[in-house]
C-alpha cells in the first residue's frame, strides 16, 4: 500500500512537471494514449524496449504506435484500445525498469498526442520502379551468404559504410570507373537468375557489367547523390537484402519524396529517377513507417502516402548496385545534374560540399567583415535606383541579400523588407533603415526564405547569387525569387561577371599570375585564390578581403588579416540562361554594367 502511494506521488510530480514545462495535459481518465513521463529519445529509449514490454504482457496485443520526439525525455504510446492501454499502465507504471540503476518508468494517460505525421506531397520520381519480392526468401539468404563479409577483410571501408566491387572498381574520387582496368572478379554467376527475371517483368535491359556491394549497418547511410551520368548507362539497378530502408529522393526543383524500399525488392532507376533526381539514405538506426492511405477526394478515392511519426528499427542491409559502364559524353536530356554539360573550367560541386564551402567562405566571412564591409558600401547602385523608379505606393519590395541596406529607398509609401543572412550586416541594416516607416529587417537564407509565396511586387537580389557554389543551388535561389514574386511581379538580379575588362575593377599595373597561383583545398576541392584587381582566370575562386579593424569610428590603416570569400563569376548569358530554366519566369532584359551581369525578369501571369 505504501509503495503504491509512493508511485502515485512520483507519477503526479512527473505529470505536473510535464504540464508546466511542456504544456502536456495528463488525465486520470483512462484512454488509449499514454505518455511515458521519464523516458524518451533524449534518455536513449528505443522502440525495442516497448516491444519487449508488450510481448511480455501477451502475444496478441498489437504493439502501440510509438512517438518519441527528438530531444525530449518523454514519449507517447498510442494503443489501439483503451483496454490494452489500461493493462499496460497497470502492469508497468512505476514497475518497469528503464535502466541498469533500476529507475522505474512513470506514465500517465493523455488526451492529446503530437501529430508529426505528414503527407508526402509529390508522386514518386518518374522512371523509378520498385519490384517488390523480386527474389524469394531462400534466394535472399543465398545472396547474403555469398556477398556478406567479415569485418576484418573488407576491401574498402568508407566513412559511412563498407563496399566491394565487381567488374570494375568504382572510384570514389571521380565517381566513375577506369575502363582500362577491369577487375579480375566479374559479376558472379549467382546473379544470373536476375537478368532473365528482369526481362520477364518487361525490362529488356540486358546484363550489367559493374556491381558495387554496399553493407549498411543500422546508423549508416549515404549522402544524397546522383550516379554520375557519363560513366554509366541509362538504367541502374539496386537489389536490397536483409533490411528495408527509406530512401530519400530529392529533385532540384525542391521536391523531396521518401520512398520505402523493402528487402528483396529490386529498385530500377530510369529517365528522371536516373538522371534528374538525387537519392540518399539518412544515417540513422530507424526509419519512419510510411503508410498508404485512401482518402476521399470528391467522388473518387485517392491514395496518399503518409510519413507517420511511428518508427521501425533498421537491420543490416546489403545493397547490390548494378550498372552498365559506357564511355563518351552523356546523351541524356536532363542537364541540371549532368556532368557532360559545359560548365566552364570546373565541374559542378556536390550539394553537401557546396553548403560547407559557403558556410566557411561566405557566411562566416561576412560575419567577420560586416563592420568593415559596411563602411565600403554607402550609396544605392544607380541601376537599382533606375529599376525601382516609378514603383507605385503600396508596393511590396523584397531586397534579398540586402547587406547593410544601402539599396533600401528613403520612401514612406511602400513596404520594404530587407532580408539578409549575416547578422552583422543586418544590425548595420537595422540602424540604417530605422527611420524608414515601411522598412523592416529579416534574417533569412535565400534558398529557404520563410516568406509567403507571391507576396512581392518587386524583388532585388544584388550581388548575392555569385556566392552559391553549385549550379543547382544558384538555380534554386532563382526559383525561390520566382516563388516570392506575384504574377506580373519583377526582379532585378545582378552577379559578378568573369569579364572585368569593361569596368573600373582592373588595375593596369597588375598582372594576373596563372603560373604560380595559389590554390586552397576546401573539402577536396581545389580553389584558386584570386589576385585582386586583375582579370578573372577561373569561374570558381576565392577572393581575398583584407580586413581592417574599426576602432571608434575609424578604420585602421593596416589590414589585420585576409579572409577569402568564395565567388562563382558568371559568363555572358549564364545568368539569363539560368533564369530561363525557371518555369514561369520570363527574362525581360539582360545587360552588363560595371563588371556585373544583370537580368530583369518577370513572373508569368498565367502561372
Amino acid at each position: 500500500m505504501n509503495e503504491e502511494k509512493k508511485v502515485e506521488r512520483k507519477r503526479k510530480r512527473f505529470s505536473a512537471r510535464l504540464k508546466s514545462s511542456k504544456g502536456i495535459i495528463c488525465t486520470d481518465t483512462p484512454g488509449p494514449n499514454i505518455v511515458l513521463c521519464n523516458s524518451g529519445q533524449a534518455t536513449g529509449l528505443e522502440k525495442s524496449f516497448i516491444v519487449k514490454l508488450i510481448k511480455s504482457l501477451s502475444s496478441d496485443i498489437q504493439v502501440p504506435k510509438f512517438i518519441a520526439e527528438k530531444g525530449e525525455s518523454h514519449s507517447y504510446l498510442l494503443f489501439s484500445t483503451t483496454k490494452n492501454a489500461i493493462l499496460f499502465y497497470n502492469t508497468f507504471n512505476g514497475k518497469a525498469k528503464i535502466d541498469e540503476n533500476g529507475t522505474p518508468l512513470y506514465m500517465s494517460f493523455v488526451e492529446r498526442v503530437p501529430n508529426n505525421e505528414f503527407i508526402c506531397q509529390h508522386d514518386n520520381p518518374q522512371g523509378l520502379f520498385l519490384l517488390d519480392n523480386f527474389i524469394s526468401i531462400e534466394e535472399e539468404e543465398h545472396l547474403i551468404k555469398y556477398f556478406d563479409w567479415d569485418e576484418d577483410i573488407v576491401s574498402s571501408n568508407l566513412k559511412n559504410r563498407q563496399v566491394k566491387h565487381y567488374g570494375y572498381e568504382f572510384r570514389y574520387g571521380t565517381n566513375d570507373v577506369d575502363l582500362n582496368c577491369p577487375l579480375a572478379e566479374k559479376i558472379p554467376d549467382v546473379c544470373d537468375v536476375l537478368w532473365t527475371r528482369l526481362k520477364e517483368h518487361g525490362f529488356d535491359v540486358g546484363v550489367p557489367d559493374q556491381l558495387t556491394v554496399n553493407k549498411y549497418k543500422p546508423g549508416q547511410g549515404i549522402p544524397s547523390h546522383v550516379d554520375r551520368h557519363s560513366p554509366f548507362g541509362d538504367t541502374i539497378l539496386s537489389l536490397s537484402l536483409g533490411s528495408a530502408v527509406v530512401m530519400d529522393w530529392r529533385h532540384h526543383s525542391g521536391k523531396t519524396v521518401p520512398v520505402l524500399v523493402e528487402r528483396r525488392c529490386l529498385l530500377i532507376m530510369k529517365d528522371e529517377a536516373r538522371y534528374d533526381w538525387q537519392h540518399g539514405i539518412q544515417p540513422r538506426t530507424w526509419d519512419p513507417i510510411i503508410e498508404t492511405r485512401s482518402v476521399q477526394m470528391g467522388n473518387n478515392d485517392k491514395l496518399i502516402k503518409v510519413v507517420t511519426s511511428d518508427t521501425v528499427a533498421r537491420e543490416t542491409r546489403i545493397s547490390l548496385t548494378f550498372r552498365w559502364t559506357r564511355s563518351g559524353p552523356c546523351q541524356c536530356n536532363f542537364k541540371t545534374l549532368c556532368d557532360s554539360v559545359e560548365k566552364g573550367n570546373s565541374n559542378d560541386i556536390e550539394d553537401e560540399l557546396a553548403s560547407n564551402l559557403e558556410e566557411l567562405h561566405v557566411h562566416k566571412v561576412y560575419e567577420q567583415i560586416a563592420g568593415h564591409f559596411s563602411t565600403t558600401r554607402h550609396k544605392p547602385w544607380p541601376k537599382v535606383v533606375e529599376f525601382l523608379e516609378g514603383l507605385p505606393p503600396g508596393a511590396v519590395l523584397l531586397d534579398l541579400g540586402a547587406g547593410n541596406g544601402k539599396n533600401i529607398l528613403r520612401r514612406n509609401d511602400i513596404l520594404q523588407i530587407a532580408g539578409e543572412r549575416s547578422s552583422g550586416l543586418l544590425n548595420e541594416c537595422k540602424q540604417y533603415t530605422q527611420s524608414i516607416p515601411g522598412a523592416d529587417c529579416l534574417r533569412l537564407d535565400l534558398l529557404y526564405p520563410g516568406l509567403k509565396h507571391s507576396c512581392a511586387d518587386v524583388v532585388i537580389c544584388i550581388a548575392v547569387i555569385h556566392h552559391f557554389s553549385s549550379k543547382a543551388r544558384r538555380l534554386q535561389a532563382i526559383c525561390a525569387i520566382s516563388n516570392l514574386l506575384r504574377p506580373g511581379g519583377r526582379a532585378l538580379i545582378t552577379v559578378w561577371a568573369k569579364d572585368q575588362t569593361r569596368s573600373n575593377y582592373l588595375c593596369k599595373s597588375k598582372q594576373s599570375q596563372t603560373e604560380n597561383e595559389h590554390l586552397i583545398t576546401v573539402g577536396g576541392l581545389d580553389l584558386p585564390i584570386h589576385e585582386n584587381r586583375t582579370q578573372f582566370q577561373h569561374n570558381d575562386l576565392l577572393v581575398p578581403w583584407k580586413l581592417r579593424n574599426i576602432s571608434g569610428n575609424k578604420l585602421s590603416d593596416k589590414p589585420e588579416s585576409t579572409l577569402l570569400r568564395y565567388y562563382h563569376v558568371f559568363e555572358e548569358d549564364e545568368l539569363s540562361n539560368l533564369c530561363k530554366e525557371v518555369p514561369g519566369l520570363y527574362v525581360i532584359s539582360s545587360f552588363y554594367e560595371e563588371g556585373n551581369w544583370c537580368v530583369v525578369c518577370e513572373k508569368n501571369i498565367t502561372i
Binding site: P114, N116, F118, I119, Q121, G254, T256, V307, S355, P392, P393, G394, V396, N412, D413, I414, L415, I417, R421, S423, L426, N427, K430, P437, G438, D440, C441, L442, R443, L444, D445, L447, Y448, P449, G450, L451, K452, C455
Partner: protein, 125 residues
Amino acid sequence: MKLITHNMLTSKCLKGVTTGYPLSIKATNVKVTEVDFNPEFITRIIPKLDWDVLWSAADSIGHSEGLPKTVEPKFEDDEEFLKKAHRVLLEIEVEEGHLTCPESGRQFPISKGIPNMLLTEAEVQ
C-alpha cells in the same frame, strides 16, 4: 519586427510542414514608435494582407484594442480606421520574443527587432 512583416512570414520550408502560416507570436518586449502616416500607403497595402492574421497577431501581443475584426468595404474613406491600421502595421514592433510554427512547434527567435528565419539543412524539405 513590424506586424506588416509578420503577415508575410511562413515556416512552410520546414520538412513536413504544409502551410506553416500564420506563425504565432510570443513577445517579451514590444516597442511603439511614432512614424509618418501615409494614408495612400495604408489604403493600398491592406488588400494585400491577411487581415484576420493581422488582427490575431495584434491581439496576441495586446494591441488589438479598437481595431476592427474585419475590413469594411469603403475602408479607404475612413481615416480613423486607416490611422488604427497604420499604428498596428507600422508603429508597433516586436523587439524581443519568438515566433512559433503552428504545425511543428519550431521556434524562430526575435532579437533586437529582427526575426531569425534561418533553418538548418536537416530541417528543410
